[in-house]
């Protein structure tokens, strides 16, 4: 499978079940409060999965040598839920500025991970040390972001 298709397929694997779950709830809910809660929860889950998806996609990023190709992969990973996020914003469930911030932050995180990994691979480290450092980065950065997500006003706390 071509690389862009692989990124989109990964995105669809997390997005389509969440979309189906949201639509099922929207079909059965009545009243603005329930709709808002459903959409907010859906967007929260999407962000959480996006964080881990981005981190787990690092091996594929490392196969790229040009930053532009990494950006394309990242966009394909993040883009599928955007219409649902627009709907959540329109319904007043989440703040548009926060959504934009998180998508930009995830793009930045992907690039940062790619850059750090490439730097590590160039260092004269043993293969075990390199692997350990890579694994730590892939887990630590998403964990820090995830910890902050719950405390973010208007999204995690709402």
């Amino acid at each position: 499978m071509k690389a862009p298709a692989a990124a989109l397929l990964t995105a669809l694997c997390y997005f389509l079940p969440l979309l189906l779950w949201c639509l099922t709830l929207l079909w059965s809910t009545e009243g603005m409060t329930e709709v808002s809660a459903t959409l907010r929860l859906g967007v929260q889950w999407i962000l959480v999965v996006q964080i881990f998806g981005t981190a787990l996609f690092i091996p594929q990023f490392l196969a790229r040598h040009r930053a532009r190709r990494v950006l394309t992969d990242l966009l394909l990973l993040l883009a599928p839920p955007w219409p649902l996020m627009v709907l959540a914003w329109q319904a007043g469930a989440v703040d548009l500025a926060i959504l934009v911030y998180w998508q930009l932050a995830l793009l930045g995180m992907g690039w940062l991970l790619w850059g750090l990994c490439r730097l590590l691979l160039r260092l004269p480290l043993s293969s075990v040390a390199s692997e350990t450092l890579l694994s730590s980065l892939r887990l630590a950065i998403p964990a820090v972001i995830l910890a902050n997500l719950q405390a973010w006003p208007g999204l995690g706390a709402a």
């Binding site: 669809l12 929207l26 709709v35 599928p80 219409p83």
Partner: protein, 471 residues
């Protein structure tokens, strides 16, 4: 640094709270009944004149008034307000080229509706019992909302001539709403004039006995009952949104199968995100309004209650004109309750509603309107007769007679109709249920929309109930 800022803010707030040149007087000495409207009177002037904006903010409502004041000429405004128990009313006056004036006002809430009586000038007010409020004639409300918490009003006949035109309009609305009025030291001529303006055949006008003996009008149906009579809607936006996302998922999958090019794959979610707001225009439905009016045969006014329901399809601020509506909503379920009053355009009122997809805001209005009854209900309870007293055909109506519903066919101008065995209807729906519960022995129900220009392009349904019996 922080201390300096705090001192500066303190200095600023000190100026603002002093509010020189702004006099604020609450109606009924600041007494109000929670959930009922009241009134606030504001008097101020401006040395330079020009445009001004007034904001009255309570926990549930914001009233925005914009107007123009002439230089050094005092302005006297009376505005509606919904005070809340224990919460001050925030008043902000912004005049052109001058710093804003801010003032807060705390109302005293009373559990029971108030009994007001007008004390003539020069006479000392007797000691007021609980729930009673003595006022001077000049302090009577100038808006219909000002009488929101009043259960009864006693006024010496001699004081009626002291009322200005705005006070007379407000009192006229009070009387049309079948609210009790006790006329003191009056003449038959005055009573006849007052009764001609009153609803419910003038039965709520008392001239001899205590005002407490006068009954309150039967409350009109509430929001939960009117909700069942709202014009039907297909709730198109939620369905459209779900179909949209199902289609979007299918296109994404096809894109994945048919094309591996990143640009093509990326364009699908981007285009779907940009097209989503356009979906709102397809799924938008106009506001819906249902009105229930009640009057008695021969009356020239009717009490009404109207439920306005606004289904949101996109984020926007909807501005609905309230032309002809003299009372603000008595209750609502909305994320924002803002009323804008334009003092430069004959006190034009607008209801500003924040809408969002999937949201429904509703507002319940009540008040009185002047009208001409399109059908005359005559005869007796034993054999009623309906006459088309207009110059046009009347629509098909319902007659409730001795517990049974009869269907009245469309009538030509001047045509008479009497119920028969064949006209009896077996119809059972929320409308006939409501008719049966409100009609008494004999009543006529006519499809009749609220005769006002308000609510813009709202889809409307309305009914006028004309009772024959004085129950």
């Amino acid at each position: 640094m922080t201390g300096g800022l705090a001192l500066g803010l303190l200095w600023l707030s000190g100026i603002a709270s002093a509010a020189p040149g702004l006099t604020v007087t609450p109606a009924w000495d600041g007494n109000f009944v929670p959930g009922r409207s009241s009134e606030i009177r504001l008097q101020f002037s401006s040395p330079a004149g020009g445009a001004f904006q007034l904001n009255l903010t309570t926990p549930g409502w914001v009233i925005r008034y914009s107007g123009v004041v002439e230089a050094n000429i005092g302005t006297d405004l009376s505005l509606p307000i919904y005070p809340a128990p224990g919460q001050p009313v925030q008043i902000q006056l912004q005049r052109a080229g001058q710093p804003p004036l801010r003032q807060t006002l705390v109302f005293n809430h009373r559990a029971e509706p108030l009994q007001a009586w007008v004390v003539p000038p020069g006479s000392s007010p007797p000691s007021a019992a609980r729930g009673q409020v003595p006022v001077s004639v000049g302090m009577l409300p100038r808006t219909s909302e000002g009488y929101g918490g009043i259960a009864s009003l006693s006024i010496p006949s001699s004081q009626l001539s002291q009322l200005d035109s705005r006070q007379l309009d407000a009192l006229d609305d009070y009387l049309s709403g079948c609210k009790p009025l006790h006329l003191i030291d009056t003449t038959q001529e005055v009573v006849d004039i007052i009764k001609s303006h009153a609803g419910c055949g003038g039965r709520h006008i008392e001239i001899s006995g205590p005002v407490a003996s006068v009954g309150q009008p039967k409350p009109l149906p509430g929001a939960s009952i009117l909700d069942r009579l709202l014009p039907a809607t297909d709730q198109s936006y939620p369905r459209l949104a779900i179909l949209y996302f199902v289609g979007y998922a299918v296109i994404l999958l096809f894109g994945l199968l048919l094309s591996g090019r990143a640009l093509v794959l990326l364009s699908i979610p981007v285009a779907a995100s940009l097209a989503l707001p356009a979906l709102a225009y397809l799924g938008a439905t106009p506001p819906r309004l249902v009105t229930w009016m009640e009057t008695e045969a021969g009356d020239s006014s009717a009490r009404y209650t109207a439920l306005l329901s606004v289904d949101g399809a996109r984020r926007e601020q909807l501005s609905l004109p309230l032309d002809g509506i003299r009372n603000l909503p008595t209750s609502s379920a909305s994320s924002s309750n803002v009323v804008s009053i334009d003092g430069t355009r004959d006190q034009t009122r607008q209801l500003l509603i924040e809408t969002q997809p999937f949201s429904t805001a509703w507002y319940l209005f009540s008040g009185t309107v002047r009208l001409t009854q399109p059908l005359a209900l005559t005869g007796s309870v034993h054999l009623p007769q309906i006459t088309n007293s207009t110059n046009t055909f009347t629509p098909s109506c319902l007659l409730s007679w001795s517990g049974e519903i009869h269907q009245i066919p469309p009538l030509r101008p001047g045509e008479h109709w009497t119920p028969t065995e064949q006209s009896r209807s077996a119809r059972h729906d929320p409308l006939t249920g409501l008719l049966g519960s409100r009609s008494g022995e004999l009543a006529l129900l006519i499809p009749y929309n609220l005769p006002v220009e308000a609510f813009g392009n709202a889809s409307r349904e309305g009914w006028l109930l004309i009772r024959a019996d004085r129950s």
